[in-house]
Symmetry: C2
Subunit: 346 residues, 2 copies
């Protein structure tokens, strides 16, 4: 198993990327790595090149660059070269902590879509954090690869999410819910009403109905399907609220004198559990599901630990053959016709 790594992407690149890759290499002897980036920098951080090959690149795509233009013009950037390695069969997967738009564009235009998938969905594994649920996590897509979606895109996400939950998370018959503005079957705009019906009609999906964004973290389903616009707004609101509450608590403790500081010391284990429960990074990076190979993007602020965890996730994806399952499912005339029918109203 060979993973192509964009070693230049992210706030802490290349140091933390290389550290994380070395940790993953020590943990998983079956993995090999192709490390794309500035040769001098990469070699200065690399302590042991066993199973790691450095491939020099001369260009870099910055965080603010227009993605499609960047991947078209910077052919010798670490992102484009790493994606090409997957396209050419030299690597099985592509990892980056860099410019999200450029990773999406490289995935779409270089690695390529699975036949039958119109648009890949950016997939996160989120914590089912509420203490009242038995679940620990759920698959959530699209978190924002596409600002505008059609019915068939969401139906395809349901299958992609199902395969991921089955193969990578090991859930035999995953439940699937649709993010909507109400729980009842007749809720939503035209798009979501139509998608509800299509998911409910699908015999091979364990569809359990709508879920509201207020109940997302309650573990209503193993897979939550959403259009990228709504999915992005709900996920960012969740992250922003968690941060604001932690900031409020911290502010209260800092300004609460000795009493509050003592209380904090006593409650430290509780805060640590809450922090872990809400953390998304422990569950790996965001997967661009619907491409011909695993393409995974971690947060720009990722440290070596997060890089190592994400590589573990990529390894699980390769081993589970989740992508082959999706390829096989969609490479079927009947399925393609079903998907086309699901957009007749557009």
């Amino acid at each position: 198993m060979k993973i192509a790594v964009d070693a230049m992407g992210g706030d802490n690149a290349p140091k933390e990327i290389i550290l994380g890759v070395e940790q993953a290499r020590d943990l998983y002897p079956e993995l090999e790595f192709l490390l794309y980036g500035d040769e001098t920098q990469l070699k200065s951080f690399l302590t042991d090149s066993n199973h790691i090959k450095v491939i020099p690149t001369t260009e870099m795509i910055e965080m603010g660059e227009e993605p499609v233009r960047a991947i078209r013009s910077k052919k010798d950037s670490s992102i484009v070269r790493a994606a090409n390695a997957v396209k050419d069969g030299e690597a099985d997967a592509f990892f980056s902590a860099g410019n999200t738009g450029a990773v999406l564009a490289a995935g779409l235009f270089i690695v390529g879509r699975i036949k039958g998938i119109d648009r890949p969905g950016l997939t996160s594994i989120l914590p089912a954090a509420h203490p009242d649920t038995d679940k620990q996590k759920f698959v959530y897509l699209d978190t924002g690869a596409n600002a505008e979606s059609k019915e068939k895109n969401l139906v395809q996400y349901a299958y992609l999410g199902k395969f991921y939950a089955q193969k990578v998370l090991g859930i035999e018959n995953p439940t699937i819910a649709l993010l909507n503005n109400g729980e009842e079957a007749d809720k939503g705009d035209r798009l979501h009403k139509a998608v509800w019906q299509l998911l409910d009609d699908a015999d091979d999906l364990n569809f359990v109905g709508n879920v509201e964004s207020s109940a997302m973290l309650m573990g209503k389903a193993d897979v939550v399907v959403t259009d990228g616009w709504t999915g992005n707004a709900a996920l960012k609101a969740t992250e922003g609220t968690a941060k604001t509450m932690l900031a409020l608590i911290k502010d209260g403790i800092m300004n609460g004198g000795l009493r509050a500081k003592l209380g904090y010391l006593l409650l430290k284990p509780v805060f640590s559990t809450v922090g872990k429960g809400m953390a998304t990074s422990t569950h790996g990076g965001a997967v661009l599901l619907g491409l011909k190979a695993p393409v995974v993007k971690t947060h720009g602020s990722s440290n070596a630990e997060a890089v190592k965890n994400t590589i573990g996730q990529i390894k699980a994806m390769i081993e589970s053959q989740v992508i082959s399952q999706a390829v096989e499912y969609f490479n079927n005339q009947e399925v393609l016709e079903k998907m086309d029918k699901s957009n007749e109203n557009d």
Copy 2:
């Protein structure tokens, strides 16, 4: 000033509604109330009928009923009768804690829209909770009156929100932001890109650009404009995350033994501050802005305190003449033409 009250709506009706009305009456001697509902029940809870007139109704709209059908068929329900009182000029405002859809429908079809406003927006006053901001609250609309919106709807919300922030919150030149999936000017789907341009072009709006749902609570602007679909998803995700985090902390304390319980006692003032900071109920109910009179809906679980606060908010709306300002602004050929132009691309 006379307020028409649906005394039968909400989980704690009519008791808490009547208690709240009596508290508001004692606080604001200039207010008079028309209380619509079951005569026997209302009279059994009313302790002092000074400035309060009970008007018997024989029908009730339940929480699950289809709104438009309900207000058309139940002519003698408390919601329909109270809305009619406003339409007929017998009352200046309409208050309810009942079926949200039915209140929206009664507002739209009985009280009626301001000329020039295509769709009213459901407006909440949310806490600018993050400790790093100087603001205390912001106006947020549409929270979900409309699942599908056009460009001119969002532009109209910007003006309605501006007038509310000026007149009711007393902010002279309120800043206005657009909820979007990125901060940069070119972010968003077709709708949000077009709205960004229209808001930026408007000389009489203090537009400060996009805000992401992750930064909503950071007090970026006095007014956050959103389509009802996204606004609903982001608001519910915020509420759900706050609840989940509080549940996680509570669970940790309950299962953390004596140490955690002691820590909780010491940090109680901090938790109380956080709870107040995040609470939306202290800022009153949701206003259906864009109607010819104040129509305000509080949460179904409202107690007397919340009812009293919301009546204070309604009083401020009546006194400030915020509605007249909107009527005046939109009753202008130039403005109407500008709004029509803003939908040329549809």
